[in-house]
Amino acid sequence: MTAINVKGLYVSYFGNEAINNISFQTNTGTILGIIGPNGAGKSTLLKSLLSLIPTDRGVIEYYGKPVKETRNKIAYVPQRSDIDWDFPITVLDTVVIGTYPKLGLFKRPKQKDREWAYHCLEKVGMSDFGKRQIGELSGGQQQRVFLARALAQETEMLFLDEPFVGIDASSEQTIITILRELRNLGKTIVIVHHDLNKAASYFDEILLINKELVSYGKAQDVLKPNNITKAYSGQLSFLKELGVNLS
C-alpha cells in the first residue's frame, strides 16, 4: 500500500530554489532515508512534507489524502537544537505532549495518558529519568525522549530530522532498533541523514537528492558510486580545488 506519494514537488526560499521537481512513492512498512550533501535541501524537503513550510508546486499525499487531512497520522522528531532546554518541563511531561493531538481542545491529559507516556519512556529506556528537567539529559537521552514523544502520538508515520547527530552509540542502537520494530508493524519511517555511513544497513529505501532527485530506490541500488558522485559532485570539485586528495 502506498503511504507517501510525492509528485513534482518544488520548494523555494525567497525565490531561491531549494527543492526542484522531486517525485517518489513509498509503501507502508518502509524505512526511507533522505540523503544528500550539505545544502541539498534534505531538511527543507522533510519540512515541506510536514507542510511546515509552503510549497510552490506539486502534490503531497499520504494514504491518498492531502497533508491537512492526515496531520494526526504523522509524528515528527525535529533536530535537537530547535528547543529551549531550560524550559520548566520534566521528561515525562515532554512525552505527555505527544498525547495532546488526540485530546483535542480544552481536555487535560488524564492518568491513563500519563501512564501511556510512561510506557513510551520505558520503550526507549528512559523511564528512570521521568522526573528530571529536560535540559539535565545527555544528547542521546534527549533524542530518545523525543522519540518517546513521537511514539506517544501513536501515528502511522514517523519523520525524523538527523536523529543520529551528536548522540552516543547505545542511544543510536536503541533508536534504530525501535524504528525497525515499528517498520515491521507496518509503519512508515522517513529519516533525514547526512552521511553515507551505515546508510545501507539503516534504510530500506534511499532518496538521494541534491536539490533535484539524483536517485531513488532500494538502498543498495542507490548507493552506487556513479549516483554518489552525481549527488556530491559540487562538494567533490570544491574539495579538489582546495587540494584535498580523495583517492
Binding site: L50, L52, K68, R71, I74, A75, Y76, P78, D82, I83, D84, F87, P88, I89, T90, D93, T94, I97, Y100, P101, L103, L105, F106, K107, R108, P109, Q133, R149
Partner: protein, 290 residues
Amino acid sequence: MNLISFFDAIIQYSFLQKALVTSVMVGIICGVIGCFIILRGISLMGDAISHAVLPGVAVSYMFGINIFYGAVFTGLLTAIGIGYISQNSRIKHDTSIGIMFSAAFALGIILITIMQSSADLYHILFGNVLAVPVAEMWMTFIVGVIVLTTVFLFYKELLVTTFDPTIAATFGLPNKLIHYMLMILLTMTTVASLQTVGIILVVAMLITPAATAYLLTNKLWVMIMLSSGFGVTSSIVGVYYSYTYNLSSGSTIVLVATILFFIAFFFSPKQGILWKSIRARKHRSQLANN
C-alpha cells in the same frame, strides 16, 4: 506600630481596601501572563506593548470611551507592526520593537499633552493605586477573569506552542494566532495595571515575579502559581509601604518584587548562587580527600 495602624486604616478607609483588592488582582494576572512572556523570550515585547498602550488611552479619553478599547487597539496594532517590520526586512526583532514602541509612546505623550484633560499623565505613567476608582477596580476584575479563563482553557496549547513551536505546528496548532492572542491578553493586563503600577513599571510586574518563580521549579503550572503568589506578595507589601511612607505605589511594589527575586537568585535550592557554590566546594573537597 506601623503595621497595626495599616490594618486599622484598611478597615477604616475604603480607598485602601480598593487599592489592596486591585493590586492583588494585578499581581495575579501579571504573574500568570508574565510566565509565558519570559518563557517565550519576549520580555522586551512586554515592555513595548505596555508603552504602546499610551496613545490608545489618550484617544479613548478624547472620545470619552472606555480606555480599554483604545488601549487594546494601539497595543495590538504595535504588536502587528513589530512583527511586520521584522518579518519583511533585515531589521532584527529587538530593533523593530525599539522603533515601534518608542514611536507609539512619543505619540501618546503628545496626545495626552494636547488634551490636558482629566487624564493625569503622571498617574498613567507611574500608577496611583491609592486613588483607584470603583469602576477601574471592576475592570481589573473582569480582565482578570478573562485572562485566567483563557489561560486555563488553552493551557495545553500555550504550553506546547511556547516550549516547542515546531511540534505545535505539526499538531496543526496556529502558532501566530496564539501569539496574537497572548498579545491581546498582554495589552489587557497592561491596561488593568495602569492604576496600580503604571505604564513604565508594568513590565517589572510581568517579568520579575515570573523570573523569580522560574528559578524555583521545573514545572510550568507550579511556576505560574508561584509567580502569581510573588505578584500578590509584592502588591500587598508594596501598598503597605506606599501608604505608610507616602511613596509611589508602582515603585514600592516593583522594589518588593525585586527583593524577592534576589532572595531566590541567591538562595534557590537548585539554581541559587549560594547553594551552587556550596555544592561545588563540597565536591572539590571530596575529590581532595580521596
